[in-house]
């Protein structure tokens, strides 16, 4: 890998160089960041757990392919019509109508990734754009956007989505994803805005302006690369909150009835009154939700260490 020569590139303010070198510089920064990241135990555990869940998500296609009775949603074991404990035939037992819990668990991983990542992508996109525009434009635009952000930030997302579910009936999983995203951008926007404010009057931005670059070009070509790492960091946290909100929604009985998510599995245990008799059914989904949240959170924290030189120096203190 070619390495950029600047010693201070970790601090992320070395972009005042000709445009052509941006990509190389990005790669170098990434490699560099990864080197720091790898030393972080918490980060390593996080990545490993995520890998495990990714494997689960991939493996979720196998059971229904082996035998249609293992389909997480429609597959019912013809010989079982109630919840049974773990056996060779059903590794984690079956649910109240004889569906395989293990294959539901695998399918849940797929849904969790889907919900978490797509919702986080949307809210990061919204947050970054709105934050950059607010910070860059200043004045009324800034005030209006930030007031809007404040207003959305005080609302408890889960309950807002609940009310919408009451009004619009059963929500589709993509609508849920979109709803969560629409209510989770303000935090990102705030951070990106303050970062943009500090970048706005840096020499390289001023130079670009003098050279006649348009606002759009300044925003996306000169400011975006600097706020991108922070946006990525926030993405990990948004993934966790999206997964949790979807799971909670499903747990309360407002999930998409066409999908099997971990929250939905918990709802089935709870609502069908198997809570006390079926630990093999109660434990796995909850452990999975908690672990995947923890994995993303750990990854985020480790990334934070990579991005924040102040924290890193703490390791090297006397």
């Amino acid at each position: 890998m070619p390495e950029a020569p600047q010693p201070s590139r970790k601090r992320g303010n070395t972009c005042d160089q000709p445009d052509g070198k941006h990509r190389l510089h990005w790669v170098a920064r990434f490699v560099d960041g990864w080197r720091v990241y790898r030393k972080n135990t918490i980060g390593r555990i996080g990545i490993m757990l995520l890998g495990l869940f990714a494997l689960m998500a991939l493996a979720s296609f196998i059971p229904p392919w082996v035998d249609p009775m293992y389909h997480p949603m429609t597959g019912v074991d013809p010989h079982i019509s109630h919840s049974t404990g773990p056996s060779l035939r059903h590794w984690l037992g079956t649910d109240f109508i004889g569906r395989d819990i293990f294959s539901q668990l695998l399918a849940g991983a797929r849904i969790a990734f889907m919900v978490g990542i797509s919702s986080a992508l949307i809210s990061i996109f919204l947050g970054t754009t709105i934050g950059m525009v607010a910070g860059y434009a200043g004045r009324t635009t800034d005030v209006v956007l930030m007031r809007l952000a404040d207003m959305i930030m005080v609302m408890p997302t889960l309950l807002v989505v609940l009310i919408l579910a009451a009004l619009f009936g059963q929500l589709n999983i993509w609508v849920i994803v979109l709803m969560i995203a629409l209510f989770r951008w303000p935090g990102v926007a705030r951070v990106i805005r303050s970062q943009t404010l500090s970048l706005r009057h840096r020499p390289f931005v001023e130079a670009a302006r003098v050279a006649g670059a348009s606002h759009l070009r300044i925003l996306f070509r000169h400011i975006l690369p600097h706020v991108m790492p922070l946006a990525l960091l926030y993405m990990t946290f948004r993934v966790t909150s999206a997964i949790i909100i979807e799971a909670a929604l499903a747990f309360l009985g407002f999930g998409d009835p066409g999908t099997v998510s971990w929250g939905m599995m918990l709802q089935w245990v709870w609502k069908t009154g198997h809570m006390f008799q079926a630990p093999y059914w109660l434990l796995p989904p909850g452990i999975c939700i908690s672990l995947i949240t923890m994995a993303f959170y750990m990854t985020g924290r480790a990334m934070d260490d990579v991005l924040d030189p102040r924290l890193r120096s703490e390791e090297t203190k006397a």
């Binding site: 918490i42 930030m153 609940l162 009451a166 909670a248 918990l266 245990v269 630990p279 109660l282 924290r301």
Partner: protein
Amino acid sequence: MGLRRFVLRRLVEIVVIFFVIMTVLFVLFRLAPGDPVARMVDPSMTPEDARLLMESMGLDQPLWTQYLYYLKNVATGNLGISFHYGEPVSRILMNRLPNTILLFTTAIVLSALLGVFLGKIAAWRREERIDTLMTIGALFCNTLFLPWLALIMIWFFAYWVGWFPITGMISPQVWIDPSAGPIRKTLDVLHHMALPLMTLIVTHFGSYLLVMRSSMLDTLKDDYIITARAKGLDEKTIRDHHAAPNAALPVVTSVGLSLAFSINGGALTETVFSWPGIGRELVFSVSHSDYPLAQAAFLLIAIVVLMANLVVDVLYAYLDPRIRY
């Protein structure tokens, strides 16, 4: 400059925000598919009652008049009659409000105190085993899925060990019993409150611990801590009287920022433990299509969140005299 002006300004802001929320809710209730009238008037009501109710809410008027009626009704607390309970929603919710406030405030205050206390120790003994343990423990607790933890709590403490009641807020036999004094009743409520409280504390103290720890680490580098050391003060005094009070300020901010999240958690906790609060009422009303109740519960929760935010802000301004708005 003064605190009073700051509070006044925040109050005005809160009123504006509430106004917006109220309006959005009004629009949503009219915009959603289905008959808006059927959403506010119980279909099983006698025609005369239904007509009276419709008149009091202006449902037969043009839309903007309806909006004025709606504003007046929100201001006077006349938000319709619950389909399920057949009672005015304001009366139901006013019954539930103290329960929510009791559980919620206790949980927030206790978890913040616990977070500050443990975070202080973790930072003080940073990178020793106890610090690592606490940080990992906090991370772990922080990411536990709340409804699941609640179920596990019930399963273990209420079903397996049998120390606490499974759900609810009071045992009827204690409250019916005329010989039961206020002490016995209080103890009964506390007994029921233990598990939901524990669930909320376990899921909340972690983030406060982490905030406290990192803020305390920053504070320990400050000059006045070195001064305190130079004066020969003992370590405990420096930790508890010099560093901790200043380091605890960001925790207050973080409590404020996580309020919306905590309200979600509160609603989930109330639902699982059948704690008769507003959050549970909201979940219940949504799953039973009890629209007037859902609308009012949501508005009330919005007020609770906004007021709690105000309290946190004022507390912060009070605790940190450097802050003057």
